[in-house]
């Protein structure tokens, strides 16, 4: 059976990164922005695992890095959602256009 080539994984992860960046800039809802950022973090995890599996299979550095990255991104999401809930309690909305009290 033929193995899937490494490039296909890299194409997927690069696409995910740029979809994430695009979403981060264009989404109007804080949760959607958070999802976009998570997409970027996940693309990194794919990269690490794929590089490890295909290029350096005798070490496990990449796998471990992706495990740590997943843990840290979970912590980040938890704090971010707590802050978003706090915003909702204050102004009853999580639309980015409402977050404009500080300007100039």
């Amino acid at each position: 059976m033929e193995e899937i080539r490494m490039e296909y994984y890299l194409i997927i992860s690069t696409l995910m990164l740029f979809i994430g960046i695009y979403g981060f800039i264009t989404r109007r809802n804080l949760l959607a922005v958070l999802i976009s950022v998570e997409l970027m973090l996940n693309s990194v995890d794919i990269n690490f695992v794929v590089f490890n599996r295909y290029l350096f299979p005798d070490h496990l550095e990449g796998l471990f890095f992706s495990l740590f990255a997943i843990g840290v991104s979970a912590a980040e999401t938890a704090v971010a959602i707590a802050i978003i809930i706090n915003i909702y309690r204050n102004i009853r909305s999580i639309q980015t256009r409402e977050l404009n009290t500080m300007k100039h």
Partner: protein, 473 residues
């Protein structure tokens, strides 16, 4: 496993001990001794600072994951003193009715960010570096959103955490490409594997963009002003001094140790970033009316000056960078101390409120003036010497035009710093801020800042001591 490796992590261990003691004290101490919580916290942290004042010999632990160099003790001690000053200034705010119930959290979160910065500075591997970076920035977001019932604080917290995660995702993508091209995450092995191929240059660009977000260099500075304005003032001072100083130092070490092979490429990138940072931040600072926003832009431009030390990439650059961090710390904390005590007592933060401050608060105006003079770099004060050394470091590598641009910007910055001084001493005001008594903790911290501003430049022994430990490429 060899547990003796932990002995090399003296600073981290004693900081963790302080954190655990404070957490238990906050949870279990009886009501009566709770009142002394802040005093205990300051004393414990002071003991930690004194214990770790003296450097020991160079060492690596955990197979090169953790690297200790004597220079790190110098920088960690500087950061410790800064944190101590922040604690003293936060005393009055944390005693106020709204914050008193959560003061233990403030100390714990602040110390955890400091622990993250320690790990980040001592990292010898991208994994530990990344964990340190995140340990420094996740509790920071909680601190920025500390004023739970204020809309501004929550808004600043959201802006901070989202841009911080965005930045670290970009950095991580860069690190993953570096891993793919070199096959390792250890700084030494990555450095040996860097040949300057296009993929590696792209990885480097991703990495440095993420770091520039953290240090808030132009064009990645857009979050800074909002976060500084919305966060509680003491958190803002912590954010502007401690986390910026450590991040710039780490960036310099990584650029020198890991990306030494593509020196000309990253110098070219930094050149543009520095010119943009200093100029744009200065121009925007002129039109600010809110003093916290004003100091936000001022700190962006100061970060640009700090990068002059990074671009030189030699021992002189490192010495002047650490010295600059020290001087910038006392000056900025002096200014923020005044703003914080006035905001605490009266709730006023705009420049117009400071009209005629000299009439009612001569000492506070004096501290503010000294700090701003030092930030602007007026000769007898420490700020002049730190700017002089950092310009000398950049000039030693032949960056004359860059130094000239930075010098011209110093003149612009003098204009807006003096606007505040003018407001305090010259502008007439019908209703200046009413006289009040500031608490003893704030007074001690402001006296310490003033002493630093006046003495650090004159006592040449400080600079010499730092330069003993510095290392270049």
């Amino acid at each position: 496993m060899d547990y003796s490796n932990f002995l090399y992590m003296r600073e981290e261990l004693s900081l963790v001990a302080v954190m655990v003691i404070l957490l238990l004290y906050d949870l279990f101490a009886p009501e009566r001794s709770q009142r002394r919580f802040q005093l205990v916290a300051c004393i414990l942290f002071g003991v930690h600072t004194v214990l770790n004042l003296f450097p020991h010999e160079e060492a690596t632990a955990f197979g090169g994951m953790y690297v200790y160099r004597p220079m790190l003790t110098v920088l960690k001690s500087i950061l410790n003193v800064g944190v101590l000053i922040v604690f003293l200034q936060a005393h009055a705010w944390l005693e106020s009715e709204k914050a008193v119930i959560r003061r233990g959290e403030f100390y714990f979160l602040t110390l955890s960010t400091l622990l993250g910065m320690y790990f980040m500075m001592s990292a010898g591997d991208f994994l530990l570096f990344f964990i340190g970076l995140e340990t420094a920035s996740i509790p920071m977001a909680a601190l920025v959103a500390f004023d739970k019932y204020k809309h501004k604080s929550a808004e600043a917290g959201a802006k901070y955490i989202l841009s911080a995660v965005f930045a670290s995702a970009l950095s991580l993508y860069g690190i993953s490409l570096l891993y793919g091209t070199t096959g390792s995450l250890y700084f030494d092995e990555v450095a040996a594997g860097i040949t300057g191929s296009p993929l590696q240059i792209m990885a480097f660009v991703f990495f440095i963009v993420g770091m520039c977000f953290k240090i808030s260099l132009v064009p990645f500075h857009l979050w800074t002003a909002d976060v500084y304005e919305g966060a509680p003032t003491n958190v803002t001072s912590y954010l502007s001094v401690i986390s910026k100083g450590s991040a710039v130092f780490v960036l310099m070490v990584i650029l020198m140790k890991v990306f030494g092979n593509i020196l000309t490429e990253w110098r070219g990138m930094l050149y543009g970033v520095i010119v943009l940072t200093i100029t744009v931040a200065n121009v925007f600072a002129i039109r600010q009316k809110n003093l916290k926003r004003f100091l936000a832009f001022s700190s962006i431009s100061q970060a640009g000056y700090l990068m002059l030390g990074v671009i030189s990439a030699n021992a002189l650059g490192m010495t002047s960078l650490v010295y600059y961090v020290l001087v910038y710390m006392v000056s900025n904390l002096g200014a923020f101390g005044v703003i914080s005590v006035i905001e605490q007592k009266t709730g006023k933060v705009t420049m117009d409120d400071y009209n005629g401050l000299y009439k009612t608060h001569p000492y506070l105006s004096l501290v503010m003036t000294l700090s701003l003079f030092s930030l602007a770099g007026i000769p007898p004060f420490a700020g002049f010497f730190s700017k002089f050394f950092i310009f000398a470091a950049a000039a030693s590598e032949g960056y004359y035009i860059l130094v000239l641009i930075a010098l011209l910007n110093t003149i612009i910055s003098l204009y807006y710093y003096l606007l505040v001084v003018k407001a305090m001493f010259i502008n007439p005001s019908e209703s200046p801020i009413a006289p009040f008594r500031s608490d003893n903790y704030t007074r001690v911290s402001l006296v310490a800042c003033c002493a630093g501003i006046v003495l650090l430049g004159i006592l040449s022994v400080v600079y010499q001591q730092i330069s003993l430990f510095s290392f270049g490429m």
